[in-house]
């Protein structure tokens, strides 16, 4: 059955979308970019990072483009001073929450969080840093989990559950205490379900999950591989 065609305006430009698409998907299909962090093409969107917020005319609320479905006749704004301001605050709060020290990070220069901050022109953070004391899990023979660099985007959780089917990762606790956790809070090296496939590492936007053996600035993620794997398997969420 052919899907219903919808017409939507994105930043004033009339585009056609398909029913069931999210705003983000429709925008991408038409070559429009919306800033994102937690979204990874092929995985179920969760709306965790709030960078993809957009304005929809007729309402004052801001909506995450990655989880909001398009509707016929919708008029969406993706760039505005208000949105920039909100996106910057979201980013600053991500920096405040953990210990992001780029100069000592394997992903320095290839980090989506860092790239996003550069794009938004963030050079200082206006809020007090949280400086949590967090562990680095080195127990896996090939990979490292550094909670200090985690932004809780849950891409690792989703790629492991949805694509690998192992479901090793989850988020434990809530609020400021939320952490990525493997199995029953086991060390990664002891996680029985882990197949060592490394998909979580490739999906991670920062240096929180990395391969061992790389020095500062050397860990380049291949998250395109994940999206193309999804496309080939036809399990698109």
């Amino acid at each position: 059955m052919p899907q219903k065609k919808l017409s939507v305006r994105i930043d004033g430009e009339l585009i056609s979308a398909v029913e069931g698409q999210t705003i983000l998907q429709a925008a991408r299909a038409n070559g429009k970019r919306i800033p994102t962090l937690c979204d990874l093409e092929g995985l179920t969107p969760v709306g965790a990072c709030r960078l993809c917020i957009v304005e929809i005319s007729g309402t004052d609320r801001l909506f995450p483009a990655c989880t909001t479905p398009v509707q016929d006749g919708m008029s969406v704004t993706t760039v505005s001073p208000k949105l920039t301001q909100y996106r910057r605050v979201s980013l600053e709060l991500l920096f405040v929450e953990r210990n992001h020290v780029c100069s000592a990070c394997v992903s320095n220069g290839h980090c989506e969080l860092q790239a996003m901050a550069t794009e938004m022109g963030i050079s200082t953070v206006r809020f007090a840093y949280n400086y949590p004391k967090l562990a680095v899990d080195l127990s896996h023979p090939r990979y490292v989990l550094d909670q200090n660099r985690c932004i809780l985007c849950t891409r690792c959780v989703r790629v492991c559950a949805e694509l690998e089917g192992a479901h090793v990762w989850e988020v434990t606790s809530r609020g400021i205490h939320s952490r990525i956790v493997g199995d029953l809070n086991q060390k990664w090296g002891d996680a029985k379900g882990c197949t060592s496939c490394g998909k979580c590492v490739q999906a991670c936007p920062t240096g929180a999950l990395a391969e061992k053996g790389w020095a500062v600035e050397e860990m380049v993620k291949k998250n395109d591989n994940i999206s193309s794997l999804v496309r080939r398997r036809g399990v698109q969420a």
Binding site: P132, K133, A161, E170, H177, V181, L184, N185, K192
Partner: protein, 179 residues
């Protein structure tokens, strides 16, 4: 690991969990109810790791999912609870009515340490049990009884307008009752 869970739980415990799982009929979202019933059944009102593992195995839920659910809800305990639970409200109304001092004096009274061991500086979220397993002290964000602030719950019984004296008396009553 799964084999370990079977070894560590005795047959009665396993039978009980099996029965709870069956009674929940494999409905989606049944996990919450299962965890609750199993915790309630435990003499120390908590969910040991072996139990979580066994539930995961039996309900075919990923271990991480079970752990995530059990740590998301304040209702679930992963540590053994004392015979008596004293719960102090740290909500805004109770805070302005001095619940911090109340909490501190209670912890002193029961000989619990005052430094905060939990990570991330969450000094307002406390769950401590005395070494003799008699008392557990915990906090909540709001009981919804703000008009009675400060509110303390002693063994599921609400005491409004609590002060140090009333708390001391409650503890004495419990201690006398257990002698």
């Amino acid at each position: 690991m799964h084999e370990m869970a079977k070894e560590l739980l005795d047959a009665g415990e396993r039978a009980f969990i099996d029965q709870v799982i069956v009674s929940k009929d494999e409905r989606p979202g049944a996990l919450l109810g299962i965890l609750e019933a199993v915790q309630e059944h435990h003499p120390h009102k908590y969910l040991p790791m072996e139990t979580l593992e066994y539930i995961a195995l039996k309900t075919q839920t990923p271990l991480s999912r079970v752990y995530s659910v059990a740590t998301f809800y304040a209702l679930f305990n992963l540590q053994p609870q004392g015979d008596n639970t004293i719960c102090i409200c740290r909500g805004t109304a109770c805070h302005t009515r001095g619940s911090r001092n109340l909490l501190e004096s209670l912890r002193l009274e029961l000989g619990l340490t005052l430094e905060d061991e939990s990570d991330g500086g969450g000094a307002d979220k406390i769950l401590q049990t005395t070494p003799d397993q008699k008392f557990t002290v915990r906090t909540v964000a709001c009981f919804g009884q703000c008009a009675l602030a400060p509110v303390v719950e002693v063994n599921h019984h609400i005491c409004g307008h609590a002060n140090e004296r009333t708390l001391q008396r409650e503890i004495q009553t419990i201690e006398r009752g257990s002698e």
